[in-house]
């Protein structure tokens, strides 16, 4: 590990982090435009052409707002809480494999911040820490609505972590590794000649469970019980204003893109184009760096499709009731996750190749 390696890792970390943070303004704009489209109104159209500068205006407004700390709050935890939810959201992206490798400065650079051998568990573990920001934020605000929102949100997040974990167990079984990178590499090529060799065709039920749980994990509609404007004012961030509120917001959208990335990597072949192997693409374009670029674009477009799905569902489905939400997790998704693992195990045993 020499200085060049460290510099390259730092550069990768900064570029990927900034790229993921850029998801936030884009998502804000897309979300508002899609909402307007669905509700038959123009949406943001004043700031810049087509309202494209609206997110910038929002950000500037957040920065110049007063940031009062209400009385009777626990000042330390109140200030720390937004960052406790932003930090895990920033850290979790280290494990996502965005593309294979590029050759720069005569070195092979993997387009992934850290190639851990347990990156899948890393994502699950760091992702489960986001709950602290919400719990501490709600508790330190000294507000009944915040506290109820925080408790609800935390119960929801912990309940849906289980199906999320069980869904990934299926993927681990199929690929026999924890490394997200190796999983993507194994998804190259075609399955049976007519399907892309993607995880969803091995684990359809697992994907469904993962998709539903990811909505709840990121506190999105139809599972946005923590925020339920009509019941709880704004949930755990009622007392937050200015950039602290925006920080919760940023964390939410970054988690969203992480979840979309996880689905892409686990079930939709990561950086692979469908039906075409990497080797074929490499033969056509003839350069490793160009291939890497194509892979990055493929990955980003797959993530974008999932993000759009999130937006679409948010504005078309009604909200669950809290007991229905927990009911869904404990009586449907967790048993389904267990059945998925059992059925996959039995099928894998029955269809095992000759030893």
């Amino acid at each position: 590990m020499n200085a060049l390696d460290v510099a390259i890792s730092a550069l990768k970390a900064i570029v990927i982090l900034v790229a993921v943070i850029q998801v936030v303004p884009v998502m804000i704009y897309v979300e508002r435009k899609v909402a307007a489209l669905i509700q038959d109104r123009p949406g943001p159209n004043r700031v810049g052409p087509l309202g494209l500068l609206q997110p910038v205006a929002d950000a500037v407004k957040f920065l110049f707002k007063e940031d009062p700390i209400p009385l009777n709050t626990n000042r330390l935890l109140y200030t720390l809480a937004p960052f406790l939810s932003l930090l895990p959201a920033c850290l979790v992206i280290a494990a996502l494999p965005i593309a294979d490798k590029a050759v720069l400065f005569g070195k092979e650079i993997t387009i992934q911040i850290a190639d851990l051998d347990v990156s899948l568990i890393y994502v699950l573990a760091i992702g489960s820490l986001g709950v602290y920001g919400i719990l501490f934020g709600g508790w330190a605000s000294n507000n009944k609505f915040s506290l109820i929102g925080a408790l609800r949100s935390a119960s929801q997040m912990v309940s849906y972590e289980l199906p999320l974990g069980l869904a990934t167990v299926g993927a681990v079984m199929v690929y026999g590794t924890y490394s997200l990178r190796e999983m993507v590499v194994l998804q190259d090529g075609t399955l049976g000649g007519f399907l892309p060799n993607w995880g969803i065709f091995y684990q359809p039920l697992g994907f469904l469970i993962f998709l539903i749980s990811s909505f709840a994990e990121t506190n999105r509609l139809p599972f946005d019980l923590p925020e339920t404007e009509a019941e709880l004012v704004a949930g755990f961030h009622t007392e937050y204003g200015s950039m602290k509120f925006a920080t919760f917001f940023m964390a939410e959208y970054m988690n969203l893109s992480t979840m979309a990335g996880m689905m892409t990597v686990l079930f939709f072949g990561g950086w692979h184009l469908p039906w075409i192997t990497d080797q074929q693409v490499l033969d056509w374009v003839g350069s490793q760096n160009l291939l890497c670029l194509i892979q990055v674009v493929t990955y980003i477009s797959k993530v974008a499709v999932f993000l759009f799905l999130y937006v679409l569902i948010r504005w078309t489905l009604p909200r669950f009731r809290f007991d229905q939400l927990l009911h869904l997790a404990w009586t449907n998704l967790i048993p389904l996750g267990l059945i998925n693992v059992a059925v996959s195990a039995v099928l894998m045993y029955l269809m095992r190749g000759p030893a």
Partner: protein, 167 residues
């Protein structure tokens, strides 16, 4: 270099561990406990035990301390200020744990620290998993039955008040 980082994380672990013990407010204790588990997880990482390190974060920081924080929030701790313990008890416990720690450190250095045995191959996670499900299968299944008993016990302990009067 690696040893320096190890020392740094050791000190972080110890400081936050001390924070758990001396914090007046329970929620600060819980917060320090999370940081302490993080420090321990990084120590495991530096030893090369990646899986255990991640499980440490997943279960300890992600579930056990969440449970602690939940209970702190469920109970009303606004007015329960903890009186400090009798001075003689503090003194006695302090000396007692100090002496015991010195003794343990001595024992550990004499047994583990002195042994020059160093394996060539690092512990492989696949070997560990296979052993857990073959050679150590029965302890593992006993643990499962233990967990089952635990679930029933938890229900009996934590059921809502209205049902508690029936039995």
């Amino acid at each position: 270099m690696k040893e320096m980082i190890f020392a740094l994380f050791s000190i972080i672990t110890l400081l936050t561990g001390a924070g758990v013990v001396i914090s007046r407010n329970v929620i600060y204790s819980a917060f320090n406990l999370v940081l302490c588990f993080f420090g321990l997880a990084s120590l495991y990482l530096l030893w090369g035990a990646t899986f255990i390190s991640m499980v440490q974060i997943l279960i300890y920081a992600g579930a056990i301390v969440v449970l602690f924080v939940f209970v702190v929030m469920l109970l009303n701790f606004e007015h329960s200020s903890e009186r400090s313990q009798n001075f003689w008890i503090i003194l006695g416990s302090g000396i007692g744990s100090w002496v015991l720690s010195l003794f343990l450190l001595r024992v550990l250095s004499n047994t583990l620290g002195a042994s020059p045995y160093q394996s060539a191959a690092p512990t492989n996670l696949r070997t560990v998993s296979k052993l857990l499900f073959t050679q150590y299968l029965w302890p593992f299944e006993v643990l499962t039955i233990f967990m089952l008993a635990l679930i029933i016990g938890i229900y009996l302990l934590g059921r809502p008040e209205s049902e508690g009067t029936q039995s």
